[in-house]
Symmetry: C3
Amino acid sequence: MYEVCVATSFEAAHRLVGDFGPASRLHGHTYRLEVVVRGERLREDGTLYDIGALQEAVDGIAASLHYRNLDEVPGLSGANTTAEVVASHCWESLAPGLRGRGLSSLTVRIWENPDVYAACEGALE
Amino acid sequence: MYEVCVATSFEAAHRLVGDFGPASRLHGHTYRLEVVVRGERLREDGTLYDIGALQEAVDGIAASLHYRNLDEVPGLSGANTTAEVVASHCWESLAPGLRGRGLSSLTVRIWENPDVYAACEGALE
Amino acid sequence: MYEVCVATSFEAAHRLVGDFGPASRLHGHTYRLEVVVRGERLREDGTLYDIGALQEAVDGIAASLHYRNLDEVPGLSGANTTAEVVASHCWESLAPGLRGRGLSSLTVRIWENPDVYAACEGALE
């Protein structure tokens, strides 16, 4: 099994709704976004998936969240913007462009800081 | 599948018993402890498991090992305190408080330094 | 399930053949090589596999690639030296020495930089 991962970061604000102590105050993080695709076989050019193309997709998602209040981003507003929900949002945004390319699964990891992450993983086919 | 990870660090001494070269001398590490829980579904509040609650549990284990000789810690004394055994000890300490909460598995990773870790993974239900 | 990981780094040049934009120019990376072995049970001495022995094997592979043009390294020349192919090359080099020791699988992760990796995973028995 092969795996390719591309990471980037974005800066965003959010607040949680519910009994989350200080996290229910408006605050923010330097998020790290890690995107991993998996598959069984390499293509003839020795790639599982072109890292440059994956990087473009990942940069696109990061740009849509960068220097924003996540609670107001289309697709997230109305939801509780936990790291799990942000990871799931990125997963849903990335998956359509990755289907039908011989990849078996996609994982999105959202680090809120170097000591905390949430991840969302699912099959691509 | 969702995953939440919380990490922290602790400083401890230990020595290995057996044919482990310099590791059989009393020495120590700045350990990094990473704790990962997994589950299939998010709760209504958008969390798999409250990160604050996980952090408290992880900090509790780390505090029980911080600035100690691992070879003298209850639950570890008498064992060979390899990174695998320390990970297993943390797994056993954390698992009871995480059962029955919709989580499917728990992984504990013990980094002895930024280039070496051992991990212990097991089902929670 | 237990896991042990040892990492190191090496500096090497390479170029990709094909439609890879700037990556088809001769360039290089400070690669990080992470090697992970997995198994079900610890031995009596509390190890899954001796970390010192794994470190020696990993250092050996890294030394064979360090300060080289990967496109000229035996076993890689003629291939497109993508991170996936380099990971696969390291996997093939390491696996024979790890078989028959109670380990179930081996993963090799090749980081081209702190934001990009490819990994190769396979069963050891």
